[in-house]
Amino acid sequence: MSFLIFLFIIFNFSVHQTFAVTATPSAETTQDIVDLVQQKVKEKLNLITTPSSQPKAFIGNITQIDQNQITTTFQNKTQVISVGESTIYVDTKKNKTKFTSLKVGQTILSMGYLNESNGLDAKRIVIIDPKSAENTNQIVTGQIVDISKSSPIMVIIPLKDKNNQYQIKTDTKTEIVNLSGKKITSDSLASGKKVVVIIQPDPKISKTFYATKIISLESTNTVSPTPTVKP
């Protein structure tokens, strides 16, 4: 009798285990699925985080030169440039040069592709004059506070910084347009009007700028409200 009871218990236990195995995945299967999910997540993350295959060009001042690597900085941003045997070097006169001609303090334009560590694998490095990369144009939205009728000079106070002011010169090359892009005459500009000016500093006179374009922000179809009499 005890033997029968023993058999019953063993049978019961084995049946329970069999159902348990079929109801939940085994440890190996679970690990496989976890690995698969992790792989898929990695692939998606790589798509988001890996650098694009588009070519890149970085400007920067050389701060360090190592055997196969150059470190540059531009606007407080550091960029590591990796060089190889196939990297081409060009000097300021557009002549081919060598890696050894690069010096700390030079400004270079490095062209190539980003690698996995966001460094640039440089294919071409051009030593450039830093001034050639400058864009001295300034875009200022402001209000005309003074405009000369005898000379092409006006004073503008920027809306962002009312403690500042710009003395702006215009000439026949200055393009004056309204919001629609249509050309208007300088007579349309008057004190109190709001404009956007694209200006460049006058190299001869300090704090004076030359306007290449003026866009009037005043609406051309301004309709003054007509008072209505309510009954």
Partner: protein
């Protein structure tokens, strides 16, 4: 004649054997209960572990055509002006490119390179697309958006135009 206690020996033996069977049955029942208890405890702990570590929770479903994993994109932070194309520090082989981005609706967009100025307006959704012409070499491109309240937002990007093979 045997003494009376001699007759008790077989009776005690039967009683002793009977008590052994009972103990055996009791032991088997207790053993099976212990086994069930251990199994139940293991399953309960396993269930708790899955609950505490959702990463371990596996849901087996029938395969469908939809991707197995979907990563929901976090909504992009809205800024006064953002450039979607071209990428920052892009190297292009043509001097004609289009600057695309988003800003406030119906804003005036002004883009300058070192030598030229371009202007346009953003649409009702704030999208803009302005074709510009690049100078040879590196171009520091300044982009400004002036909204309908005359607030100005600025950004800039470097784009290099070169026909050299990279």
């Amino acid at each position: 004649m045997y003494p009376f206690y001699h007759q008790l020996v077989p009776i005690c033996g039967i009683i002793y054997v009977n008590s052994m069977i009972k103990e055996l049955i009791l032991a088997i029942i207790l053993g099976s209960l212990l086994g069930l208890g251990v199994t139940g405890g293991y399953l309960a702990l396993h269930k708790k572990d899955i609950k505490n570590n959702p990463s371990k929770q596996i849901e087996i479903t029938t395969p469908t055509n939809t991707p197995a994993t979907t990563i929901s994109e976090t909504p992009k932070q809205t800024s006064p002006i953002s450039i979607s194309s071209p990428e920052s520090d892009a190297l292009v082989s043509t001097d004609q490119i289009t600057i695309k981005g988003t800003t406030s609706p119906n804003s005036l967009i002004i883009i300058t390179t070192a030598s030229q100025t371009f202007s346009d307006k953003s649409d009702a959704k704030g999208n803009f697309s302005v074709a510009i012409k690049l100078d040879s070499g590196i171009n520091s491109v300044k982009i400004s958006a002036i909204d309908q309240s005359n607030n100005q937002f600025d950004t800039s990007t470097n784009i290099t135009y070169s026909t050299a093979k990279i």
